[in-house]
């Protein structure tokens, strides 16, 4: 029983791509953010005490009968529509039978040959500006499993554990499994396509508002299938080369891991195939820390799930009116929306990327709607707030600062009441919970001195105190005025408009 991952042979990535054509299949499980479970009224909140969100239905107690969550079906249809899928006119649930204590019923209620949505696609943008169309095979409804804690043995791993403790709070939470068709033709961009697809899917699901899509909490999970086939020889068409044996890598829980796991498997498969050996069809486990996959179980008899139609649930048959109504609720596609906003706001590509990375698109949209200039909104959300979020490992929304606050702050700067450094202090106050920007500015007495008399007096004082510098300015060295402006600002305790101070100084000396 080994727990340590023994490194397997790999070949150089570029070499692997010279000889082989990678084919991927991605399965994404997304937990819906419904208030209740798929088939019962138990709550779904994350982090509740163990086994406090369970009932006879999700514990599989005898005689309990499931009833489908209406909102989960609607979410499933909306996801299907957003992925350009057909929506089934009639479909059923099925029992997937297996014995594993994470499902107390000894089966998982899923869909088998009648998924609610099928035959779609999602276009994803790659960093080189090209688009790759990911063909979607199906999206089906199912339920999540319980969580096991393995006791004894090494650090919570299943190997070597002497018994396991199960919490069924998660069992029965609605899941949508989204399965791609085999993705071909990506070549050396395969790892990037995988990452871009999961990222685009996450963005789409977030825009739909159907899931928290938090990969680190497991509400979005990806299983990555990969196989290699020889590169087509001569005038042979690559599509005519039969697919190789695939492996399925589980536990890939960040966008970066999706990319790394595919890349690693390409180099590992190539090493096996180079030696003339065969790939074993098996489950692999991704190890974030070491960046390798290790062998899990081989596909075997245990995968004989004996699916059959679920007799306790009646078919789901969404009317075309329902489907069209739900189509009407779809948000603008994230890619199109991004392009529209970037053009409205006049941001450069680089600025827009910063906004995306800070997760601030919605916030800036709201801030602009609340009256801020696009430039002002971007400056605060992707500047000071993004910097703090980065340092404190939070997201920009976590500081209690609202779009209305930023719009107000931006207004105070534009009206000339605050200068930049004062605005920063005001923001500090807002973050500290001292109130709105206006309240903070009032309470802290932050206000640019609008009285030109006071400013002129300060300028005169500084000029008198620095005759040498003043003479330089008189002699035409305008840049020397900077030193005087600094002195004036100090004299005014920072509460002056530096631009105005410069004007007055130059007026007096030139």
């Amino acid at each position: 029983m080994t727990t340590a991952a023994t490194a397997e042979e790999i070949v150089d990535y570029d070499e692997a791509l010279e000889r082989y054509d990678p084919v991927m299949g991605l399965e994404v499980h997304v937990e819906l953010n419904t208030a209740t479970k798929m088939f019962c009224g138990c709550a779904t909140g994350f982090g509740a005490d163990p086994n406090t969100q369970v009932c006879p239905v999700c514990l599989g107690l005898p005689g309990a009968l499931p009833v489908v969550n209406e909102k989960a079906v609607e979410s499933a249809i909306r996801i299907g529509l957003a992925l350009n899928c057909e929506i089934a006119e009639w479909c059923r649930f099925a029992r997937k039978n297996y014995f594993y204590p994470d499902m107390p019923k000894n089966f998982q209620t899923s869909q088998y040959d009648e998924p609610i949505a099928f035959e779609g696609h999602l276009d994803v943008e790659l960093s080189d500006g090209t688009t790759y169309r990911v063909a979607i095979e199906r999206a089906h409804m199912e339920e999540d499993t319980g969580k096991s804690l393995h006791v004894g043995g090494a650090t919570g791993r299943i190997h070597g554990a002497d018994h396991s403790l199960v919490d069924y709070n998660r069992a029965g939470i609605p899941l949508i499994e989204i399965v791609t068709k085999p993705l071909t033709g990506a070549g050396e961009r395969a790892p990037q396509v995988a990452k871009a697809y999961v990222g685009a899917l996450r963005e789409l699901l977030r825009a739909l508002g159907v899931s928290d899509v938090k990969m680190e909490q497991g509400s979005l999970r990806c299983d990555a299938n990969l196989s290699l086939r020889p590169k087509a020889a001569g005038d042979e068409n690559q599509d005519d080369v039969p697919l190789g044996t695939r492996t399925e890598t589980k536990n890939v829980n960040s966008l970066r891991s999706v990319e790394r796991a595919i890349r690693y498997e390409i180099t590992r498969h190539a090493a096996v195939l180079d030696k003339g050996e065969k790939i074993r069809q098996e489950t692999r486990h991704w190890h974030e820390d070491t960046g390798v996959t290790t062998s899990g179980r081989e596909k075997s008899d245990a995968d004989d799930y004996r699916y059959f139609p679920e007799p306790d649930l009646v078919p789901v048959a969404p009317t075309r009116e329902t489907v069209e109504h739900l189509r009407g609720t779809l948000p603008e596609a994230p890619g199109l929306r991004r392009k529209r906003l970037q053009s409205d706001w006049g941001y450069s590509d680089l600025e827009m990327r910063d906004v995306m990375n800070a997760g601030a698109v919605d916030l800036i949209e709201e801030t602009v709607a609340a009256g801020a200039t696009p430039a002002g909104a971007r400056k605060w959300w992707t500047g000071e707030l993004a910097r703090r979020a980065n340092v404190e490992v939070k997201s920009v929304e976590d500081f209690g600062v609202t779009p209305a606050h930023i719009a107000e702050l931006d207004g105070l700067v534009r009206d000339g009441r605050l200068n930049d450094s004062m605005a920063r202090q005001v923001l500090e106050g807002v973050i500290a919970g001292e109130g709105t920007p206006l309240e903070v500015a009032d309470a802290r007495g932050l206000e640019l001195v609008q009285d030109d008399g006071a400013l002129e007096a300060a300028v005169d004082k500084v000029i008198d105190a620095n005759p040498d510098v003043a003479q330089k300015v008189r002699d035409g060295k305008v840049q020397a005025a900077g030193a005087l402006i600094g002195q004036v600002m100090k004299e005014m305790k920072g509460q002056a408009d530096a631009g105005k101070a410069r004007e007055i100084i130059l007026a007096k000396l030139t």
Partner: protein, 98 residues
């Protein structure tokens, strides 16, 4: 429809985690065989124009609103568990049983 073999029954018993003795296996081959034959008779009358059904009720779209209902509470939920620990169901080691 091909008859049920002894191997089929042994395979199914394995999947269902039911330990059958040789005698029981033999008996089950016979009993399950009778059930399958009976079901097969239905197929004889199932004509092309009869839709396969998985449910006796002519119903679709039976759903409930997404409204939270009280759960059992951990104590009641665990009351039937042979063993529990840390408010969780304790189960024997999961791997290594094959």
């Amino acid at each position: 429809m091909s008859a049920l073999s002894r191997d089929d029954v042994a395979h199914l018993a394995g999947l269902a985690r039911i330990d059958l003795s040789d005698v029981e296996l033999d008996r089950m081959v016979g009993e399950l065989g009778v059930i399958l034959e009976s079901v097969a008779k239905v197929q004889e009358v199932a004509a092309e124009d009869i839709e396969p059904m998985s449910h006796p009720l002519p119903l679709t779209n039976v759903t409930r609103p997404d409204v939270v209902r009280p759960s059992l509470g951990a104590e009641a939920a665990l009351s039937g568990a042979p063993q529990q620990e840390q408010q969780r169901f304790s189960v024997p080691r999961i791997l290594d049983e094959d």
